[in-house]
């Protein structure tokens, strides 16, 4: 159904446990969050989603002393954390390791893409009964946004599991897609339709407001002044230079562009930083092609056959993410911005016959930085061949619980499904205290 002029309803906050039974779980209002707001360490979060499952062995958890078929094609190098080594393909992240956290002992039972990415993106193992909301949608639901931009934005594309799940569709991310013609990011329909201009849009707005005057009057009588309708937000985003400026990467200096890299992921990270500066709460960057069943060297390092300078997945990530972290830090934003880079699982310890690695959820690595985390800390480890966690195993639910905690959202916060089931933001996870500064 089209409901073009929906006004985002005021979020109701109910306290848990006031009157135990009256109305509990039977609320007819579908979207009530009873929330215990914690201290917000991370005002914003940038999730760099490495879709397909990045290899822990070629990145944050190399095994230089393992047999060749486990060790893989790359050497390892030392980092700015004494005693911690990473793959040689990410020299920049090695250099700034003292600014980040690495969890090397994430473990999950799910080794198929769709169910695994649901687990990592929502903190819930999937069930056929319910689609759970992802981090960004929960943040959008729980928080009062102060930005003139949407609270949850997705860059490039996003998995449906990174969507609103059982929450209202207004908590779906606002997508800034890739323009396939130019391979750049451009928000759809933000620029004027050809022939339309500010004067004409204002005229259209005036005509429409005259036509809808009764509804508008009713709307403004009924709800608080702070909430705006979607069309008002759309007018504002179209008419407001400042909004459009958020997406104008050409405003950045050539040095900055060089630092982030000109490939799509670099642009995504640069745009994400600009959005954080404009108080967007959650940004999901979708980075494709990490499902490397074959040709590790070509896919992860070189990018194309015979490349002198690697432009594959890892160098691209290394450049963009290290630039992002350093840039955020230089601007004094890193402490209030959580950066997470992860995919749905790791890769098999043994290289397969086509020179790739297959799905491996039993142990894999996740990189995090900023937003109230320790700096230069490596949590947990995997065994000799990167097959299982050796100590401090962490589940995706723990990871989710920790991310929510840093965002100031308690696991106890209750969401309500459309049929009245109370669902906690996080069910079985524990905060990984060691990560927190």
């Amino acid at each position: 159904m089209l409901s073009p002029f929906v006004r985002p309803s005021r979020r109701d906050f109910l306290q848990i446990g006031s009157i135990p039974l009256l109305g509990l779980g039977l609320s007819t209002s579908h979207l009530r969050a009873s929330s215990t707001q914690n201290e917000i360490k991370a005002k914003s979060c940038i999730l760099i989603w490495l879709d397909g499952g990045p290899s822990h062995l070629e990145m944050f958890d190399p095994k230089p002393n393992a047999p060749r078929e486990v060790r893989g094609p790359f050497q390892s190098i030392s980092t700015s954390i004494p005693g911690y080594t990473v793959s040689e393909v990410m020299p920049n992240l090695a250099r700034i390791a003292d600014k980040i956290c690495v969890v090397r002992s994430v473990t999950s039972p799910l080794g198929e893409h769709n169910i695994a990415n649901h687990y990592l993106l929502t903190g819930y193992q999937p069930t056929p009964a319910l689609a759970y909301p992802s981090f960004g949608s929960v943040v959008s639901h729980v928080r009062h946004s102060e930005s003139h931009l949407p609270a949850y934005m997705a860059l490039n594309e996003y998995r449906s599991t990174a969507g609103a799940g059982f929450l209202d569709s207004k908590h779906e991310p606002f997508l800034v897609p890739r323009d396939p013609k130019t391979n750049t990011l451009s928000p759809k329909d933000l620029a004027f339709y050809p022939g339309l201009n500010e004067a004409r849009l204002r005229r259209r707005k005036e005509f429409l407001e005259t036509l809808d005057r009764q509804e508008r009057q009713l709307d403004s009588d009924r709800s608080s002044a702070s909430s705006t309708t979607a069309i008002d937000q759309a007018y504002r985003m179209t008419l407001n230079q400042e909004t459009r400026r958020a997406f104008q990467l050409e405003d950045e200096s050539p040095q900055t562009h060089t630092r982030y890299g000109d490939r799509l992921l670099g642009q995504c990270c640069l745009l994400a930083r600009r959005l954080v500066e404009r108080n967007v709460s959650f940004i999901n960057i979708h980075n494709n092609d990490w499902d490397t069943h074959a040709d590790l060297v070509l896919r992860l390092k070189e990018g194309y056959a015979g490349a002198k300078v690697g432009v594959g997945l890892i160098p691209t990530l290394d450049q963009a993410v290290s630039a992002l972290i350093e840039d955020l830090e230089a601007r004094g934003l890193l402490d209030s911005t959580l950066v997470v880079a992860m995919g749905e699982f790791g890769r098999t310890p043994k290289i397969n016959s086509t020179g790739g690695r297959d799905h491996w959820p039993r142990v894999f690595s996740v990189m995090m930085a900023g937003g109230g985390l320790k700096k230069g800390y490596v949590h947990g480890s995997s065994d000799r061949t990167g097959e299982s966690p050796l100590d401090s195993p962490v589940t995706p639910a723990d990871l989710a619980c920790t991310i929510y905690h840093l965002l100031g959202i308690s696991a106890e916060t209750t969401l309500t499904t459309s049929d009245g089931r109370p669902i906690r933001v996080n069910q079985s996870g524990h905060i990984i205290r060691e990560l927190i500064a």
């Binding site: 159904m1 089209l2 409901s3 073009p4 002029f5 446990g17 135990p20 039974l21 009256l22 109305g23 509990l24 779980g25 039977l26 609320s27 007819t28 056929p128 009964a129 949407p150 449906s160 609103a164 569709s169 207004k170 908590h171 779906e172 991310p173 606002f174 997508l175 928000p187 759809k188 329909d189 620029a191 004027f192 339709y193 022939g195 339309l196 004409r200 259209r204 005036e206 005509f207 429409l208 005259t210 036509l211 809808d212 009764q214 509804e215 009713l218 709307d219 979607a230 069309i231 937000q233 759309a234 007018y235 179209t238 209750t414 459309s418 089931r421 109370p422 906690r424 069910q427 079985s428």
Partner: protein, 715 residues
């Protein structure tokens, strides 16, 4: 007040005496206390995985397991018969030791004393009592099962609940029942005085829960100031009869009938999925026949457009979508459904043929219906939603918390559909099973409610028989309610497929009566539809917003609804005279004529067409902001307005006087003339911009008309 307080004190006195002497029943006292305190709710220990290592069945539905969990598990620390006060079950809820759920019972309160006495007596589970029924009294009068309570504002009434046991013993259980008020803004119940009061006028619901018994009370709170004004009530139709009755009880007033043009637009959008053309509109308005509304409905229902639109509606309700096992199946099923609508086949027959279908899905037949579910469980859920008005999916993992359905019902029904071979050739197999997670064994096929099938082999015929005849099956009501919701934008029961004791209809007698007449007219859909569209209720003026329409539980106004994406696109195309394709690679056709709802169409995606396979209650994952930006700057609307071959540009060639052009634009989009305010606004704008190209101003007005609520809503 004094008397109530005194009675309560006396009750406490005698009550607590009774606890010490009489044996406390685990099933009938201990568990209800836990339910009342919320211990076994879905967000606490009643969650499927329990809470803090302690799991209870949801709302105490399984006393045997709960007894084991409380008395045996955790090394017996939850109850300590030797030192009752050391029992965790007493210390936790009082907050004496750390409890995540907080302090929910006061030490030495009545419930605490009952729990304490039960432990002191040895924490037994005696099975000497058996509950016959619960009886509800309203101000000391026993309340007949289905009758509503009238409760004016600023008055109070006393609600008492008594349990009758088979042993002929009866007992006040006021302190043991859980009273739930689904909408806390409607009613207030004071658990110490048993007094109920209303917070606002309207139709309210209150649920009384005790053990496995649930009773739902409907509370009517009339408007205080305005006495019912019956000047707009002229009803002859059954629908109006029941609606008027309730409206009078609530002392509310009905809106007058909508203007003729609005009635015509509304009924055409609902029956054939499009608005009247300017010609149709003027023909209708100038027709002086007093029966023209009814005559027009007959004409619409017998048109091919009706067949197309209702084929669209039903195939969308059933979530028709392609299946790679049978590439031609979708088309064959669509054709079959179209034939049923065209022939006016009785709806019990349509349902029977779909549910019992076998054979080649590539022939025109309902066989493809079996492929609309991915697996037997999903098929059981679909069957119960579409045909018996039950949402069974809760019962996949636990007994339905708010309804009578058990886990065995769910898996017993799934076991029936497990025998179906979902391929191009649909066959009944003699093997195939689903596991019942409760037992860990293959589920035994059974009818919902527990009876076994009397036949062997393909038992679906027997299932259909049950569906049509058994009182637990709400087939006729389910279909009636769904059809009602297509016209009124909400069901008499809402959600439409969630009929249960705890979710009563706003107008139970009306639903009953419509279902009866639907049955007695051989499940004739056209008969049902005629009844609805001929009612005054349907023809009244609509309220200011669609939200108002949904919350207008007394039907004081006519319906007002948002349009589905497909209908909306057709409406825009009709208004703009668009020749643009609606799907990404399609021949020119109407959106409601697309057999396959997944036909790629970025336009329909942006407009928020229904893409989920379930019930289409949820639109596609387009945020409303994305849609609004598209509305302003995107090509869907702008291309259609600005195209030289389309209506506006062609019309502007004729250089009509502005007032006449304005009239035409309004009639074309809103089926009405501009009012003076609008006329003034526009002509002023035209005069101010006399230097610029006036066609741009017309374009801007056209855009605004196509974006206005009056255009976008069916009202």
């Amino acid at each position: 007040m004094m008397r109530g307080g005194l009675a309560f004190l006396l009750y406490l006195w005698f009550g607590s005496l009774a606890f010490a002497s009489e044996p406390i029943s685990f099933d009938y006292e201990v568990l209800p206390i836990l339910t009342r305190a919320g211990c076994n709710s879905g967000s606490c220990h009643g969650a499927a995985v329990g809470r803090g290592g302690f799991h209870l069945s949801l709302w105490g539905s399984n006393p045997r397991d709960d007894y084991a969990a409380i008395v045996r598990e955790f090394e017996g620390r939850r109850v300590d018969v030797a030192h009752p006060t050391a029992s965790l079950i007493l210390k936790k809820p009082t907050g004496a030791i750390d409890h995540e759920g907080g302090a929910i019972l006061d030490e030495n309160s009545v419930p605490w004393k009952i729990l304490h006495a039960w432990i002191e007596q040895g924490a037994q589970r005696r099975r000497n009592l058996q509950l016959k029924e619960i009886e509800i009294s309203w101000n000391q009068q026993i309340l007949p099962a289905t009758s509503p309570i009238t409760l004016p504002l600023q008055t109070r009434g006393t609600l008492d609940v008594t349990a009758l046991f088979l042993s002929t013993e009866s007992k006040s259980i006021n302190h043991l029942v859980a009273i739930q008020i689904p909408d806390p803004s409607s009613l207030k119940f004071d658990t110490t005085t048993q007094q109920l009061s209303a917070l606002r006028p309207g139709i309210h619901t209150l649920i009384v829960r005790y053990c496995d018994r649930i009773q739902t009370l409907q509370i009517l709170t009339p408007n205080t100031h305005s006495p019912s004004d019956t000047s707009n009530v002229t009803a002859s139709n059954t629908i109006d009869y029941w609606l008027d009755q309730r409206r009078e009880a609530l002392r509310q007033t009905a809106a007058p009938l909508a203007p003729e043009a609005s009635q015509l637009r509304r009924v055409m959008l609902d029956l054939i999925g499009r608005a009247p053309t300017p010609q149709e509109l003027s023909d209708y308005l100038t027709d002086s026949n007093p029966d023209k509304y009814q005559i027009n409905i007959d004409r619409l229902i017998s048109s091919p457009e009706y067949v197309r639109f209702w084929t669209y509606r039903w195939t969308r309700i059933f979530g028709l979508r392609p299946n790679s096992n049978a590439p031609q199946g979708l088309h064959s099923f669509y054709q079959w459904m179209q034939a049923q609508i065209a022939d006016g086949t009785a709806w019990d027959q349509v349902a029977r043929e779909m549910i019992t279908a076998t054979g080649d899905t590539h022939q025109q037949s309902p066989a493809f219906f079996m492929l609309l579910a991915n697996d037997p469980r999903q098929q059981a859920e679909q069957f119960s939603r579409w045909f018996i008005g039950a949402r069974l999916e809760c019962a996949n993992c636990h007994d339905h918390p708010l309804d009578r359905w058990k886990q065995d019902d769910y898996h017993g029904l799934a076991a029936v559909f497990a025998r179906i071979d979902r391929k191009q050739m649909v066959r009944w197999l003699d093997r195939g099973a689903v596991t019942n997670p409760r037992t860990g064994l293959p589920a035994i096929p059974q009818l919902p409610g527990g009876s076994r099938f009397s036949s062997s082999g393909d038992v679906r015929g027997e299932l259909v028989q049950w569906m049509l005849e058994h009182p637990d099956s709400l087939f006729a009501k389910t279909i009636v309610n769904r059809v009602w919701s297509q016209f009124f934008g909400r069901g008499l029961v809402e959600p439409v497929d969630d009929m249960r004791l705890t979710n009563p209809a706003t107008h139970p007698q009306l639903l009953e009566s419509l279902a009866e007449s639907f049955k007695s007219h051989q499940y004739d859909l056209q008969y049902l539809i005629r009844q609805v569209v001929l009612s005054d209720a349907y023809r009244r003026q609509s309220p200011a917003t669609t939200a108002d329409s949904r919350s207008d539980l007394t039907y004081n106004f006519g319906p007002r609804k948002s349009l589905p994406a497909d209908v909306l696109l057709d409406l825009i195309d009709d208004a703009t005279g668009s020749q643009l394709p609606i799907a990404d690679a399609s021949t020119r056709d109407r959106a409601v004529a697309l057999e396959d709802p997944t036909t790629p169409s970025s336009t329909l995606d942006t407009l928020g067409r229904c893409v989920r396979s379930e019930t289409c209650a949820t639109p596609s994952a387009t945020s409303s902001l994305t849609l609004m930006l598209h509305w302003i700057n995107g090509e869907t609307l702008n291309d259609r307005i600005a195209n030289d071959k389309h209506w506006l540009k062609t019309m502007l060639q004729e250089n009509l006087p502005p007032a006449e052009m304005l009239e035409r634009l309004y009639i074309r989009t809103l089926c009405r003339s501009p009012n003076p305010t609008e006329q003034q606004m526009f002509l002023k704008s035209l005069a101010q911009e006399s230097n610029s190209d006036s066609s741009l101003i017309w374009e801007d007005l056209f855009w605004a008309l196509l974006s206005s609520k009056d255009f976008l809503d069916n009202r």
